[in-house]
Amino acid sequence: MSAAPIIEVRGLARRFGPIQALGGIDLTVERGCVYGLLGENGAGKTTLVKHLLGQLRAKRGTVRLFGEDPVSDPAAVLSRTGYLAENQDLPGWMRLDAYLRFLEAFYPTWDRDLAASLCGQFGLDPSRKLGKLSKGQRARAALVGALAFRPDLLILDEPSSGLDPLARRDLLEAVIRSVVSDGRTVFFSSHLLEEVERIAERVAMLQAGRIVLDAPLDEILGDHHRLSLRFEEPQWRAPELPGALHCEGSGQNWTLLVHGDPGAWDALVAQRRAKVTGLRPAGLEEVFLGRARGSHP
């Protein structure tokens, strides 16, 4: 079963009281892929990650990592999965070296040299207590713990939230090095779109518990454009243009976020007594914000 995807989620739904946190998620992460999950706060990213890690049991739908159910076989899944979260809990009373020895006892694949080399790259002092480290150093220490057993899968949940630019860059560099040297599969959620654009090959966008877009990043960037229109008459409300993902502007000038061939808009635009005054590729942030806000600005 070497061709089995690393992560396979089918029809995953989850409700917390009146809140539909996840509404039927399907996603597949193939071996060696760096997969970025985008979504606003509250879109369901962390709920999804908790299902992947077996911290929540799938009530509807299925979750498989390496073909296994992370709830019924947590050891098989967690021994192969490195995990880094925002504000990761680390035992503050422990020294870093003691913490790494503690992890080493759990993971048969622990690579002591790699742990030492990562600590060196990050400028971490092994004799420091974890509780005395800065937020950035704690995140670096947690990443050492997540990478040093050379996991098949690395899951990062908002890894760089609240970190300074240097710490963010250190984290990204270490993740890229592990992708380059080990072909590691990475699943990460982030709202830092530049970061996602740098390292992800495939991007999914989660909105109110549903995946509204899931495609290779190059395809997302190639298929979305911003189309600027000049209307003959001022428009007092956003013009109704079916198919536009987002529309913003005022008076005679309006700009649409469109998906697919921008030439397909010519006829409709002419019919609305407008003409195209500009066309450029949309950046990932524009795609994300446009789709998140929808057709009502």
Partner: protein, 131 residues
């Protein structure tokens, strides 16, 4: 191996591999990269730029398919014959034409008016008179 001053700008709207292709072509055109010179390996460039290695691999692959770069087994990727009439350049030209046509349409220029403008600019560039 030649060090290359390359950078990527996420958020620009163009996929990062396209940005790399344009910069490598520009380095060849400016003479900073010469035929026969070796480029950084995919891994090294991915680490230098902190981007996904497949992005670098795709840029190299497209430039190889265009004949701009050539890979030799076990020794790396090299500049082939400089910037010739290659597929990558063809695509750049096609993109530029699309932009010109969009701008012309926005200005309401018809085909004759547009051709006249292009011809006038061509003559300016040939004769070195400033536009």
């Amino acid at each position: 191996m030649t060090y290359l001053d390359l950078h990527v700008r996420p958020g620009d709207g163009r996929p990062l591999y396209r940005q790399l292709i344009e910069q490598i072509l520009a380095h060849i055109a400016s003479g900073q990269l010469r035929p026969g010179e070796r480029l950084p390996s995919v891994r090294r460039l991915a680490e230098q730029l902190v981007i996904n290695p497949n992005t670098v691999a795709r840029a190299y692959r497209d430039l190889e398919a265009a004949g701009t770069l050539a890979s030799r087994p076990r020794s790396g990727v090299f500049v082939a014959g400089g910037v010739g009439s290659t597929g990558a350049l063809e695509r750049d030209l096609a993109d530029a034409i699309d932009r010109v046509l969009t701008a012309a349409r926005a200005l309401g220029l018809d085909a004759d008016a547009l051709n006249a403008r292009i011809e006038a600019r061509r003559v300016q560039l040939l004769t070195g008179t400033e536009g």
